[in-house]
């Protein structure tokens, strides 16, 4: 039902309009004379006001009205689209957004924003009186041509309509009425004088005579000096909302033809509520699970028909899954666009000149991933603007261009999307990082670290380079949270930096979120899934190598030694190992030489398994060795291993054992 409720449609429309207006304003900041942009911004504000009033968003309509008037002046050439004006309207965006969402917004804030707006539009705008009903008294005098009665005019309903506008005193003007003897009843001889007191605008009065205005004489005179207010939004709007909500049945037909209309409009796209997409995704996920059960049943069966059908369904399920992945893909442009505004504001706040360049906006990512990337990226950009870039004076002194550059880029590389934030600022001050880390107790004073390891310290919890928690980068969102969020998306984060030249942060996010291919293994009584992307190969563990030794556990891999972790021990299963253990060689995700390939010793390898990832609840958020769970064909649950964390845990356990022995 909510889809056909105009007020609900308006809410969405309002958000779109506000975004359009914002983008338009940002573009206008670069091209202040562009008429097309000015018209577009004006139109957006105009629609926001008009439709807002229509559906009961009175505060929004009233507020937007001022922005619209200001831009009307620009449109008419009475005022320039100055930087102050643009900034004032931009500042008002959040206030309008709050009003459009129906959230309470501070009156004081609104008044301050409007003051800023009016200051920016030099020629003072005569503020119309507030939305309170403004009653005006009018004297109307009108009469109709004699033959109009014969033409179907009926004066009485018109008088009724006038009465609907407000209190009326009607006086018939009978001067033109001839004596009864010569009176022709088919001809009109009467005129009227009406004194009407109404809070409706003048247009409503003229409205009554809309169709006969040409053929009559009408004088309308305001008897008060008070200005008739602008639209009397408040009185009308609340009524509008209620009856519309009651009109049910035409709704579905309405929705259909609406879709038709949209599609017909050169329709490249169809709007689908995000929830529906998520539902669809869940269905596909369940289908994949059931399909793998079918596969199990079929492979245990000797019926060739059953196997044939099972294979076909497997293929179809895979295709459906791939299509779903694509359906949820959304270009990063929508994310990048948000940042233009952010950088604009940052520039003003820091007093630095910042140029934001974006590349690869058409690169696509899963919708949920984009949403979860928003906050970390905001933090990284703020960080670059706040800490990375120098002030114009500092840049000049360093021989750099005054404007600092931040480049936001996205590109697809294989099964990943790589997002990079590059700034040409001062780079990371190694000495300061070192000092901070020692102070925070993250490293010992004499610890030897590679440059890479030093930079990684920035992402440790407890580390903070901000001397003061500035308003920009503060809020308890630290680099460690950024890293954690990225890892929660099964992605990685790398930072490189050159002192004096700038820094680069690269995020790698895997393309698919919900479904991955995995290797199913058994350790004691539990089953686990290892993401296939991390698996390099599987080998047997010869019994002689499985004996506990005092040194590190290493396996001989074609002449190379690779360490391995006994998952049985890591998981403290307390069971005896199966006689012929298998070792799954995985890439541990660690850059250090010699640590790249690690073995995971398991009791049994059960085979490939397409995994629909179910996240673990908040109660298991701290168990980092598992990134999620999946439901197997027999209804059982298998935990999905997070290889980098698992390997790290194994190494820790290893170190502890060695220290103890």
């Amino acid at each position: 039902m909510s889809q056909s409720d105009p007020a609900a449609i308006f809410r969405q429309e309002a958000q779109d309009l506000l975004e359009q207006v914002e983008q338009g304003l940002l573009d206008l900041a670069h091209r202040p004379g562009d008429r097309g942009l000015i018209d577009a911004v004006f139109r957006g504000l105009h629609t926001l006001k008009g439709s807002g009033a229509m559906f009961g968003f009175d505060a929004l309509a009233a507020f937007t009205h001022h922005c619209e008037s200001a831009f009307d002046k620009v449109r008419k050439g009475e005022a320039p689209a100055s930087a102050e004006l643009i900034a004032a309207v931009l500042a008002a965006q959040d206030h309008m957004r709050a009003l459009a969402e129906g959230r309470a917004a501070s009156e004081a804030e609104g008044a301050a924003l409007l003051a800023q707006l009016h200051a920016a539009v030099a020629a003072g705008d005569a503020l119309p009186a507030s939305a309170g009903p403004d009653e005006t008294t009018w004297r109307l005098k009108f009469s109709f041509p004699p033959e109009s009665l014969a033409n179907g005019l009926r004066p009485l309903p018109l008088l009724d309509e006038l009465r609907e506008l407000g209190a009326c005193e009607v006086k018939a003007l009978v001067d033109g009425v001839p004596p009864l003897a010569v009176l022709d009843p088919t001809r009109g001889h009467l005129g009227w004088e009406v004194v009407l007191t109404t809070c409706q605008p003048r247009s409503a009065i003229e409205d009554v005579f809309i169709f006969v205005l040409d053929d009559m004489t009408l004088e309308v005179e305001a008897l008060d000096a008070a200005p008739a207010g602008e639209e009397s939004a408040s009185a009308q709007a609340p009524d509008a909302a209620a009856p519309l909500a009651a009109a049910g049945p035409p709704a579905s037909a309405a929705a259909e033809t609406a879709n038709e209309a949209r599609a017909a409009r050169g329709g490249e796209s169809v709007r689908v509520p995000a929830e529906r997409l998520d539902e669809l995704m869940d269905r596909v996920g369940e289908l994949v699970i059931v399909q793998s059960r079918l596969k199990q049943v079929a492979s245990a069966s000797i019926d060739p028909q059953l196997r044939g059908v099972s294979e076909e369904i497997e293929r179809l399920a895979a295709e459906l899954r791939d299509t779903m992945m694509v359906v949820r893909m959304v270009p990063v442009a929508q994310l990048f666009n948000r940042f233009r505004r952010l950088v604009h504001d940052l520039a003003r706040e820091t007093g630095k000149t910042i140029d934001l360049a974006t590349e690869g906006e058409t690169t696509e990512l899963d919708k949920t991933v984009i949403e979860r990337l928003a906050d970390p990226l905001v933090h990284l950009i703020r960080n670059a603007a706040d800490h990375g870039l120098e002030t114009p004076a500092q840049r000049r002194a360093a021989g750099k261009a005054e404007a600092g550059h931040i480049t936001l880029s996205a590109r697809q590389a294989g099964a990943e999307v790589i997002i990079a934030i590059v700034d040409d600022g001062r780079g990371v001050d190694r000495a300061r990082v070192r000092a901070k880390a020692e102070e925070a107790g993250l490293i010992a004073a004499d610890a030897v670290l590679t440059d890479h390891e030093l930079l990684q310290l920035i992402f440790q919890p407890g580390f903070s380079t901000a001397q003061a928690i500035t308003n920009l980068s503060g809020r308890g969102v630290g680099m460690d949270v950024v890293k954690k969020t990225i890892e929660g998306l099964r992605g990685t984060l790398e930072m490189t930096s050159e002192e004096g030249r700038g820094s680069k942060i690269e995020l790698r996010i895997p393309l698919t979120l919900a479904i991955i291919d995995g290797l199913l293994v058994r350790v004691a009584g539990g089953r686990y899934v290892i993401p296939l992307a991390a698996v390099e190969e599987c080998v047997e563990l010869p019994p002689e190598q499985d004996l506990r030794s005092s040194g590190r556990r290493l396996i001989n891999l074609r002449g190379q030694l690779a360490p391995f972790i006994r998952l049985r021990e890591l998981f403290a299963t307390g069971t005896e190992p199966d006689p012929y253990q298998k070792v799954v060689i995985v890439s541990s995700g660690q850059e250090r030489a010699g640590q790249h390939r690690v073995g995971l010793a398991v009791d049994q390898i059960l085979g490939d398994h397409q995994t629909v990832i179910k996240s673990l609840s908040g109660l298991h958020a701290d168990v980092e060795t598992f990134s999620g769970a999946t439901i197997l064909g027999d209804g059982g649950v298998a935990l999905i291993l997070d290889v980098p964390h698992l390997v790290a845990a194994g190494q820790r356990q290893d170190a502890e054992l060695r220290a103890a022995s």
């Binding site: 460690d480 998981f571 299963t573 609840s617 908040g618 109660l619 168990v623 769970a629 298998a638």
Partner: protein, 170 residues
């Protein structure tokens, strides 16, 4: 929606609508509004490295939900599963997210009302359980009934953590 809200307010004022159940001989009760379903014991999958209080997950209608053992929070033995053992699936907020959680129960009784007047705040001393784990104590049907403070129990992982702190990544 408004109606439900009003009912809830009534509840907060006058009476607790609860589901009562047994844990190792003691009677507990929780807000009936939280309960989604009561199911028989299901195959459990252990989660190595998790706090003992919540060391397993189960498949509940295609979702993987944690299995929590309030007995551990209240210092009781785990006990062997019996014919009466059940899992009470509730929906509770964990770190801001509505989450389905399975609670072990040795026996589930009924949904019943306990008037506010029949309950009292837990005494600060003298209880053999952690006071901060108990929301109210009640006398019902001649028995002592414990209404646990689920939020606190979950936040401290049944007492595995000293206080409510967010987790630092390792």
């Amino acid at each position: 929606m408004q109606q439900a809200q009003d009912m809830h307010d009534d509840q907060a004022c006058d009476v607790f609508q609860v589901l009562t159940f047994d844990l190792q001989g003691e009677t507990f009760a929780l807000d009936a509004g939280l309960v989604r379903e009561v199911i028989d014991l299901a195959p459990e999958t252990g989660v190595p490295g998790a706090a003992p209080f919540v060391d397993a997950v189960i498949n509940f209608r295609g979702r993987v939900i944690p299995l929590a053992d309030l007995r551990l929070a209240f210092g009781m033995a785990r006990g062997e599963p019996t014919r009466d053992s059940r899992i009470v699936v509730i929906e509770h907020e964990i770190e801001g997210e509505p989450t389905l959680i399975g609670l072990r129960a040795d026996k589930v009784h009924e949904v019943t009302s306990i008037p506010l007047g029949d309950t009292e705040a837990p005494p600060r001393v003298g209880l053999r359980w952690r006071t901060d784990f108990i929301q109210r104590l009640a006398k019902h049907g001649g028995e002592l009934v414990v209404l646990p403070d689920l939020a606190q129990v979950f936040a401290t992982r049944g007492g595995a953590l000293g206080a409510v702190v967010p987790f630092a990544p390792v």
